[in-house]
């Protein structure tokens, strides 16, 4: 069944006429994903590509197209507003790809979203892929910026903050012959909509997911929180990796959230907690797939 999205999911893209949004909307369409509408204020009535209609507002686009999920490629100064517009249009799921949104904006967005039915994934994330069953996983639901062809439909759930590390894990799994149920990039910002824990819970409840790879990095305690929950509640084997063992303390390593503040933030501390919670921790990023397969 996969989680969050599948081949039947209808998706609209906010910022579809921008270079970045347009490029990835097209790649998703090529992958077989149902991109049913685009939104760019002031460009309503135009068409993206061959047949995707563009609307001025998200609520119009959702009503006309039946989309339940929005992908956001809007530039940082306008992204918080774009997320809240999608929430107002009662989308089920909003996936914010945009990198560089001010933290204060996200703080207000999170507070404003309390009590709404919408789930937010990201921002600063690679998005979500539920691979299809065609050649090179064609026919799946690709929302965001991941290279589609590295996937393969199967039974491993992948959750990670980092885009490229997600691709790395997915690629390793596919090479080893193991497909994925759904791959979720939750994003590298200090404040995000969906946590490692949220995704673990969904994978735990998903019939199609039989094993999980959880990838984390230095900063914050989200991985530890998820691991502690998993130790008590998760029925499925989990392999993990934490990036940033060689990162100097007090420096922001690219991701706004990747900074070692206290002792619990370090890669060593997180790896230790994961191991204590029964998660098989991969020694190197090159062994994530192997480590999981070793548990099966």
């Amino acid at each position: 069944m996969a989680i969050l999205v599948d081949e039947n999911t209808k998706v609209l893209v906010q910022g579809i006429t921008g270079g970045f949004g347009g490029k990835h909307a097209q790649l998703s369409i090529d992958y077989g994903t149902q991109i049913v509408a685009g939104v760019t204020p002031g460009k309503g009535g135009q068409t993206f590509g061959t047949s995707t209609p563009i609307y001025d507002t998200v609520s119009d686009a959702a009503k006309q197209s039946g989309a339940t999920v929005s992908a956001i490629f809007v530039p940082p100064p306008f992204a918080a507003d774009a997320i809240l517009e999608a929430v107002d249009a009662e989308m089920d799921l909003v996936i914010a790809i945009t990198e560089g949104i001010p933290v204060a904006d996200m703080m207000r967005v999170k507070a404003a979203m309390e009590g709404s039915k919408t789930r937010l994934i990201g921002p600063n994330c690679p998005g979500v892929v539920t691979p299809g069953r065609g050649e090179n996983s064609h026919g799946g639901c690709r929302i965001g910026i991941a290279p589609g062809y590295i996937h393969k439909r199967g039974n491993v759930g992948v959750v990670s903050r980092s885009g490229t590390l997600t691709y790395e894990a997915v690629y390793q799994l596919t090479e080893l012959g193991y497909g994925q149920s759904t791959c979720v990039g939750i994003g590298g910002d200090p404040i995000n909509g969906t946590s490692h824990l949220d995704v673990l819970k969904m994978f735990n409840d998903d019939d199609e997911t039989e094993a999980i790879i959880m990838i984390g990095e230095i900063g914050g305690n989200a991985e530890a929180e998820a691991a502690r929950w998993a130790a008590e509640n998760c029925k499925k084997p989990i392999a993990g990796f934490i990036a940033g063992a060689t990162a100097p303390p007090g420096r922001r390593m690219g991701h706004a959230g990747a900074i070692v503040g206290g002792e619990e933030d370090t890669a060593e501390a997180k790896k230790k907690i994961l191991a204590e919670c029964g998660i098989a921790v991969s020694e190197t990023p090159s062994d994530m797939g192997k480590t999981l397969v070793g548990m099966l």
């Binding site: 001010p102 933290v103 996200m106 507070a111 980092s162 490229t164 060689t246 206290g262 062994d287």
Partner: protein, 394 residues
């Protein structure tokens, strides 16, 4: 981004957060006239560098201490002359120290009691949190460890803002009464305004002092700003002092590249922050030592990749380069073109291992294979790390 103490004072003045009377000076003469303008007999002169431990630091000319008390403007002039244009080494600067372009001259304040006060962004609750403690002037992490009961946290709802009852609770933490309590209430309200208006991710006042006359003053402050929000704060960007930063990091930021210099000899060029960290980790795991963190980002151009190579190669410690690209947004052929452009211009003579995977990978590999560059291709991340460590160590 960091700012100097005198710049923090300017922000405090703008937002109505009281701090001791003081002025910045670039020459000994300016320092003297600043002292004259401030008046009184208790004065202090402080070297302006982005590093802690100034008081206990030593200048490379042998002069001891980056913070000094003085009684007269003439003394201030003399002290400033020994600090300005000199390099101050503290426990936070490393051996190379920091060059002192400016000093701040201020009134020296008598202290009745000193407290700790900060506003931070709390990741777990996604809210600003005000941290207050009666243990001022100490290392707050030590206080948190040894006497956690002496630290009080007040979370602020981001949409409601700081409420009067929260101000009363904080006032009670410090046990302030009468006019002093009123002064503090004004200070914390203004400090919260500043935190929000300037998109700070941290403002720390340590110590916050009460004088024998009952006045409340921010004696020393530390600021952190959210880099993502700098686009809407040109006034804060203008406070950036690039002489305080690693010149390679400054150059990288001009090209929108994320570069952080480290001590090793294997440079890496990677797309994506997570993979860049993981690449450093695996180099170490294979027995090597990473020279840097470098994330070229998702949409890097040929020019950016070439600039990244130049920055990497400007580090004399570098003896080998590992390029690790897993293209999602990033196209492998763009990276390949960047490598070729840089190689043509820079004549790379040290070992270069390239691992490409992802979007347009075939095109990227072909470009490199068809060039006359001595690139060592790698099949996967582990292979890449092993090859570069071997090449550098042989």
């Amino acid at each position: 981004m960091n700012i100097h103490e005198y710049q923090a004072k300017e922000l405090f003045e703008k937002f109505g957060v009281p701090s001791p009377n003081g002025q910045v000076a670039s020459t000994a003469e300016e320092a003297e006239s600043a002292a004259n303008a401030i008046g009184g007999s208790g004065l202090v002169v402080k070297a302006q560098v982005h590093a802690g431990g100034r008081g206990k630091g030593t200048f490379k000319n042998g002069f001891k201490g980056g913070v000094h008390l003085a009684d007269t403007p003439a003394e201030i002039k003399d002290l400033a002359a020994q600090m300005l244009g000199q390099t101050l080494v503290t426990h936070q600067t490393g051996e190379e120290g920091r060059f002192v372009n400016k000093v701040m001259v201020a009134e020296s304040v008598d202290i009745e009691s000193e407290f700790y006060l900060s506003i931070l962004l709390d990741r777990a609750t996604c809210r600003p949190v005000i941290v207050a403690s009666t243990e001022g002037g100490m290392d707050i992490e030590k206080v948190a460890e040894e006497t956690p009961d002496l630290i009080v946290k007040e979370f602020v709802h981001p949409l409601a803002g700081l409420q009067p009852y929260q101000v009363r609770k904080l006032t009670a933490v410090y046990g302030l009464k009468g006019d002093t309590a009123k002064q503090f209430a004004k200070l914390i309200k203004n400090l919260y305004k500043l935190f929000i208006a300037c998109d700070c991710d941290m403002v720390e006042i340590n110590p916050l002092v009460v004088t024998p006359d009952g006045d409340v003053l921010a004696l020393d402050a530390k600021f952190g700003f959210d880099d993502n929000a700098l686009y809407r704060h040109p006034d804060i960007v203008a406070m950036r002092d690039t002489t305080e930063e690693d010149p390679r990091e400054v150059e990288a930021s001009e090209y929108d590249l994320n570069y952080i210099g480290l001590d090793g000899n294997i440079a890496c060029l990677v797309n994506g922050a997570g993979l860049a960290m993981a690449t450093m980790d695996i180099i170490k795991h294979c027995g090597g030592d990473p020279a840097n963190f470098l994330d070229v980002g998702g949409g890097a151009t040929k020019e950016q990749v070439a600039a990244a190579f130049k920055i990497i190669l400007s580090d004399p410690k570098v003896e080998g380069i590992l390029v690790n690209i897993f293209g999602g947004i990033m196209q492998c052929d763009i990276i390949a073109e960047g490598i070729l452009a840089a190689a043509a211009e820079l004549a790379i003579t040290i070992p270069l291992v390239v691992r490409l995977e992802g979007t347009n990978v075939a095109k990227g590999r072909e470009l490199i294979a068809n060039s006359d560059l001595a690139v060592i291709p790698a099949d996967n991340l582990n292979d890449a790390a092993e090859k570069i460590v071997k090449a550098v160590n042989s």
